[in-house]
Structure formats: structure tokens, C-alpha cells
């Protein structure tokens, strides 16, 4: 499943549509398999995978930017915006649809992040990382202090509905699991199409040689601004999905350590394969859950060592393990 969901065949086809058709088919298959598996799984497992998929979306956004050569250290900002949008719409506006809330989260995140896109598109390296970090910490500070947004404790969110239907107690976890996986699958496929598109290829070029891109007639700033906006949408989507399943939102969503975890997943995954992002996100969730339960003082140690291992020996991420060649 993973192997095909990400690389186009080496031989070019007359039209890429059949290849994308195959990717879509495999994506749908993967979703179907997971849906069945989830039906028979214990609640803690479906919850874990739900969190992995939702968090994975945020890291997918980071991958969009990493393909262009920058690493954002402040995705917590859009993650929190998406989450708070969903939470506030639920509590204050009575809007509770499980499909509408993530969409709203993504759109509001884009609205708030978009004005910063032209500015951020001019930065690279440490300064890009620091500026995104600063913005996310400003957001954190605001969220902590604004009591109308719940202050430092945040607030709880009730159970969403789906297309007008109330969700039964016994099945709400599974339904949200399906919704989250569905959104993740759709976004993953869209991401794959985008990465393979002309704009996606220009992004890769920006990563390696910006000067040549400009000399070939391409716009580096436009490419990076667009990637930033796309990452914001993914982040907001993920934030809303997390809030729906978690039932709670708090300012910590925007704290730099949260952003750090999303970066960790993106580094672990690499930017070659979309599926790798979700696999890596699942790995993080598994390590987090099991370590918290059995070795509460060592899960960060495990993550740190794991990260060092990946940086040293798998610099292109785990996706490079199954992606053919070095393109894409």
C-alpha cells in the first residue's frame, strides 16, 4: 500500500491520470482496510490511530514546506487556530457537524496565516524557523491570557454530529475514526497529486537551487507562499479533527514543544512519501502512549534517540526506505 501510494512509475506514461488513478485506488483500499480493522479494534487503538491521522495532517503541511527547503517551527499556531475555531464554533455557535468543523478549522487557519505568507516566503533557514516560532508563541501567549477563549485551562468540547445525525455513545469513537481517516486519505491523495504537479516540481527545485528557478522564469516567493498557505490549511484541519476526538482544547496546542513534535514526525517521514508521514505519526503516537503507560520518564529520551538515529542514518526519512530513486 505504502509503496505505491507515493511514487509514480519510472517510465513516463502518456497521461499521468492512469497512474494517479492507481494511487487513488490504493488510497481507497487502504481506507477500506483500516475501516474494517477499526470496526473490530478496541477503543484505545481506534483513538490512537485517529490521533495519528489528525496529527499526521499537520506534519503533512510541514512536508509541503520542507520540500521547498524550509522547516517551520511554528505549525502549532495553525494547529491551535484550527482547534479553537472548531471548539468555539461548537460551543458558541452551536455548529457541530463533524465534517464542517474541520473544514472551518482549515479555512480560518488559512485566513489568519495567509497575510504572513508573502513575508515568510522571503526567509530561509534559522530565520524562517525562528519567525514561525515567534508567531506561534505570540498565539500561545494570546490564548493563555484571553479568558474569553478559555485562558490557560482551555475548555471542553462536546460530541459532534454527522450530517445532522446524533452519534450514538457506543459508536462515536469509531465514527470519528472514519471521518478523520477519510479526511486524511483525501488530503493525502490531494497532496500526492500536488507533489507530482508542475507546482510541486518547482517547489523541489526551490529547495535545491533558488537562483536557477528565477533564471528559468519561476517565482520562488510565490511557490513558498503557496506552500505556507497549504500547510496552514492542513494544520487547521488537523487541529479541528484532534479537538473533535479529544473533546478538549488548550493553549498548549500552540506551544513550541507541540510544534516540535510535528517537526519530529516530518523529519522521521522524509518528504518523498505521503504515506510515510502517517506511518511516522503513528509511530510517535505508539511511542507516546506506551511510554507514558510503562516508562513515563523515558518517552522523550526514546524520541530524542530515535530522532538522532534518523538524522544520522536515514537523512531522507523513513519514506526513503520504500521510495524508488531520489526524485519526487
Amino acid at each position: 500500500m505504502a509503496a505505491v501510494m507515493n511514487s509514480l512509475p519510472a517510465k513516463p506514461s502518456a497521461s499521468a491520470l492512469p497512474a494517479h488513478g492507481r494511487t487513488v485506488a490504493l488510497g481507497v483500499l487502504a481506507f477500506a482496510v483500516l475501516a474494517v480493522v477499526g470496526f473490530f479494534s478496541p477503543k484505545w487503538l481506534t483513538f490512537l490511530i485517529t490521533m495519528a491521522a489528525a496529527n499526521g495532517l499537520v506534519s503533512l503541511g510541514i512536508v509541503c514546506l520542507m520540500r521547498g527547503g524550509v522547516v517551520p517551527f511554528g505549525q502549532g499556531m495553525v494547529f491551535a487556530i484550527g482547534g479553537y475555531t472548531a471548539a468555539l464554533m461548537f460551543n458558541k455557535l452551536g455548529f457541530t457537524d463533524a465534517l464542517g468543523l474541520p473544514l472551518a478549522g482549515g479555512l480560518v487557519a488559512v485566513l489568519i496565516a495567509a497575510p504572513f505568507a508573502p513575508l515568510l516566503s522571503r526567509y530561509r533557514g534559522i530565520f524562517f524557523a525562528m519567525l514561525t516560532l515567534a508567531l506561534s508563541m505570540v498565539t500561545y501567549g494570546l490564548l493563555m491570557k484571553l479568558d474569553m477563549l478559555g485562558g490557560s485551562d482551555g475548555f471542553n468540547v462536546g460530541r459532534p454530529t454527522l450530517l445532522g445525525q446524533k452519534l450514538p455513545d457506543a459508536r462515536v469513537g469509531y465514527i470519528l475514526y472514519l471521518v478523520t481517516l477519510g479526511v486524511a486519505t483525501v488530503m493525502g491523495l490531494l497532496a500526492r497529486v500536488y507533489f507530482d504537479s508542475t507546482r510541486g516540481l518547482v517547489t523541489l527545485a526551490v529547495r535545491e537551487n533558488e537562483l536557477r528557478v528565477e533564471y528559468l522564469g519561476g517565482s520562488v516567493r510565490q511557490a513558498m507562499a503557496i506552500n505556507f498557505v497549504l500547510a496552514a490549511f492542513c494544520g487547521g484541519l488537523g487541529g479541528a479533527l484532534v479537538v473533535m476526538s479529544l473533546g478538549h482544547i488548550e493553549p498548549n496546542f500552540s506551544f513550541w514543544t507541540t510544534s516540535g513534535e510535528f517537526v519530529f514526525v516530518a523529519i522521521l517521514a522524509g518528504w518523498q512519501s505521503v504515506a510515510a508521514v502517517f506511518v511516522a505519526s503513528t509511530v510517535l503516537e505508539v511511542v507516546r502512549s506506551f511510554s507514558s503507560a510503562y516508562f513515563p520518564n523515558t518517552w522523550q529520551l526514546a524520541l530524542g534517540l530515535f530522532l538522532l538515529f534518523v538524522i544520522r542514518f536515514l537523512p531522507k526519512g523513513i519514506g526513503s526506505l520504500w521510495t524508488k530513486g531520489s526524485t519526487k
Binding site: M130, L131, A134, W256, Q300, L305
Partner: protein
């Protein structure tokens, strides 16, 4: 008028320990070109070590004044033990790689040290309150301040001057300045760049630990301390300019005053005032106030 005075003094005291810590951060960046996320972790190690050393001193019935020596010793021990381990055992395998990659390596270090600290000292908070009353109280106008806070300011000034003198007036320091300008050229002139890296990193860690050790009496030393410190230190070095000593001083003052202003006049802004300044500086003068490095911009 009293209000202004209070704000200034509060800002100054906050800026003093921040300067010591940020100085270490900016020095490490200047020499090794590494922006060290784990810098806050070394601060925490210094604080914990100070808690332990002061505790031992107290249990052996030493006079309270010895706690100052204990705190200094704590910083020295942390630097002497952790610096070689980290630099030789880990960082040097990544020298020359992309600067953001190195940040990620230090992020991994931060994660590891968070748990190492918890494993060694446990998760419960430590209180090192004995030294805090060593300098009595100071009355300025109608306000009363703890003398220790002013002692910290004095320490910051001493540290700043020592580092400046060390860099600009000693031979080793000038060699370090050469490496700051260009490690490659320095190496081709026979400088043992590895040794300079080691030294700079050790001094950097020492400064972080020193800041931690001497701030320990003012805070509760517990897991998570490093998390807040690093982010404020980043703000300072970005505002002041990466790699600049004057920048660390001015940056610390700006951050200290911004925070103090917010706390006293607009508490809502307390947490984000610092980061707004950081963001604004990044937007308009990304190299910081005292330019050393170029911000890569299109």
C-alpha cells in the same frame, strides 16, 4: 514615577539572569554556528545541580554564604562533565551540516536531557531558598526589593565584562574571534579549531548552568523549566543579533523591560510581549540589532 521605577528595576533584574544565559547561547552560535535548543536544558541542569550542592552544604551545616560557592561549583561541574560529553560524543558528528539540521540535533538533545534530568532528580520540585535571603532587603522609595536580585545584576555585569575581556584581550579569545569570523581560514592558519569549538561550547554551557544555578533560589526547580528559558533566550539573541555580545546585553534588557512593562501595565500581554518584539525584529531587521550574521532572504 514610582511605577516607572518599579518597571525599570523589575526589567533589569529579569534581564540580568537572561543576559548570562543568552550570552552562552549567542557565543555557541557565533563560534560553532549552532542554535542550541538544548541550551535551556543546561540551564536546568545548573539549577538542579545547584539545588543538590546547596542541599548538601546545608545538611553539613555550612554557613549560608557557602551556598554561593556551591552554586558556582554546580555550574562548573555541569560544564566540565556535560560539555565534553555532548560536544565530543554527539555534536561533532554533525559539524558542517545544514544549520537547521543542527538545530534538530539539539532538539533531540533537549528531549533526551529532559528525561535524563527527570531520571536523576525525579519529577518533584526542588526549592533552594536559603541563598535568596543572603543579601537582605533593599528599600528604594516605598518599594522593597530582595538584595539577591541586585546581586544578580552585579553578577551579570561581571560575567559580561569577563567574557568581553576574555574574547578581546586574551590570546585564546582572539583566536576564538578568528574562528567566529571564519573557521576555515583559521584552520588553514594553524588554529586547532576543534579545541576552540570545545572551549566555546564549554563556556556556553557554563554560562547557561551559571544562569540556572543562580536563578535556582528564585524559582521552583522542576521539569519543564528548560522549556520556558530556551524560548525567551531565543527571543533575546534574535533581537540582539546572533553571535553578538552587545546584542545579548541589549536584547536581554529589551526583553526584560518589555516583559516588565507588560506585567505592570497590560498583564494580558505578559506572555506574548516578548515574542511580538521578536517577530517584529525578524520582520524588519532579521539580523538583529547588532548585525553579525546575514539573514538569508530573497
Amino acid at each position: 514615577m514610582n511605577e516607572v521605577f518599579t518597571i525599570l528595576i523589575d526589567g533589569l533584574t529579569y534581564a540580568s539572569w537572561l543576559f548570562i544565559v543568552a550570552l552562552g547561547l549567542t557565543l555557541v552560535f557565533g563560534v560553532l554556528k549552532i542554535l542550541n535548543i538544548a541550551h535551556g536544558s543546561f540551564y536546568a541542569l545548573g539549577a538542579y545541580a545547584a539545588a543538590s550542592f546547596v542541599g548538601w552544604g546545608a545538611s553539613m551545616q555550612w554557613a549560608p554564604a557557602y551556598s554561593l560557592v556551591a552554586m558556582l561549583l554546580a555550574a562548573v561541574v555541569v560544564a566540565a562533565v556535560v560539555a565534553p560529553l555532548t560536544e565530543r560524543g554527539l555534536l561533532r558528528f554533525f559539524y558542517g551540516r545544514d544549520e537547521v539540521l543542527l538545530v534538530l540535533v539539539t532538539y533531540a538533545m533537549f528531549l533526551i536531557l529532559e528525561d535524563v534530568t527527570k531520571l536523576v532528580w525525579g519529577a518533584n520540585p526542588y526549592y533552594v531558598s536559603e541563598p535568596y535571603s543572603l543579601f537582605g532587603n533593599v528599600h528604594v522609595g516605598v518599594q522593597t526589593w530582595v538584595g539577591y536580585d541586585f546581586a544578580l545584576v552585579a553578577l551579570a555585569v561581571v560575567v559580561g565584562l569577563l567574557v568581553w575581556w576574555g574574547l578581546n584581550r586574551t590570546r585564546q579569545g582572539k583566536v576564538m574571534l578568528a574562528v567566529i569570523h571564519s573557521a576555515e581560514i583559521a584552520a588553514s592558519m594553524g588554529v586547532n579549531v576543534s579545541r576552540v569549538y570545545m572551549l566555546a561550547f564549554s563556556v556556553g554551557i557554563f554560562l547557561a548552568a551559571l544562569g540556572g544555578a543562580f536563578t535556582a533560589p528564585m524559582i521552583s526547580v522542576q521539569p519543564g523549566v528548560s522549556v520556558g528559558v530556551i524560548i525567551v533566550s531565543f527571543a533575546v539573541v534574535i533581537i540582539g543579533g546572533l553571535g553578538s555580545i552587545e546584542g545579548a546585553a541589549v536584547g536581554a534588557l529589551i526583553v526584560g523591560l518589555a516583559r516588565s512593562l507588560a506585567v505592570h501595565t497590560a498583564p494580558v500581554a505578559e506572555l506574548f510581549s516578548i515574542y511580538i518584539v521578536m517577530a517584529v525584529v525578524l520582520m524588519f531587521r532579521p539580523e538583529g540589532l547588532f548585525q553579525r550574521t546575514q539573514a538569508r532572504k530573497i
